[in-house]
Symmetry: C2
Subunit: 120 residues, 2 copies
DNA sequence: CGCTAACGTTAGTGAGAGCTAACGTTAGCG
DNA sequence: CGCTAACGTTAGCTCTCACTAACGTTAGCG
């Protein structure tokens, strides 16, 4: 698993920016033009344009051209990698939590914390 | 929703770093000491220590001290904010996809699309 | 054509983040 | 005590990234 690390990495880095997440929420429910998106913030259109480029290259938004305007919309498939990562992490961590409780109830063995190498 | 933006922001920024995600996967299944974690990478222990600090402040790992050693483990609750964000984004985007298909079948209204939502 | 509107793109700047080396801290051993 | 081991912390460097200003591109109108 996690074979598309480079692709998922782009999505993570793209979402690390609060403004990009705001843009994504903005186009999650409605398809908006670049100018409309830029009007919603108090930064330059240039900055928004670059953010849109990052989001597009990360596969998080799709672009549709109509005349001189370009409409953007959230692309749910771009979040698939993140969901996989989070779900795997979530279930693994919860599983360990359960295991630790059972171990403690059994009289707490496993103090040396013997490794398991199936890390990645 | 998205009221814990500052807390979620820390988690997003923490996960934006590939090495921190690797560390998180490493301690997702096993509780490891700082030295063991550092041994798994080819960077300095200092760098790993700083990464662990970031992960801990983001609520993504827990710390347990035993003698001079400090054991770290993944904290699934720290991912709750991210899951909420992703789930909301996912369902919203899919909902829009469905709505667009229906609108197209109905004869495509809503061309102007002028609006602004709660941008934050 | 000329002109304007709506974008994207490039160069340059300042703030932030990851990395290393050196130093400080705490726990265990003789 | 003195010494070592296992960490964390600070100072400094470098590189990335978000932002702005200026320029280039494409589409529509007269």
């Amino acid at each position: 698993m996690f074979e598309d690390e480079s692709e998922t990495d782009d999505a993570f880095r793209a979402l690390a920016e609060p403004r990009r997440r705001a843009i994504l929420r903005l186009v999650a429910t409605d398809e908006l033009a670049a100018g409309e998106i830029a009007a919603a913030f108090d930064v330059t259109r240039t900055a928004i344009s670059q953010h849109l480029t990052v989001l597009r290259e990360a596969g998080l938004v799709s672009e549709r051209r109509a005349g001189t305007r370009r409409f953007y919309r959230a692309r749910p498939e771009g979040l698939a990698g993140l969901r996989e990562f989070l779900d795997a992490m979530w279930s693994d961590a919860l599983d360990v939590g359960r295991r630790l409780v059972e171990a403690e109830a059994a009289g707490r063995p496993d103090e040396t914390a013997g490794r398991r190498t199936d890390v990645a």
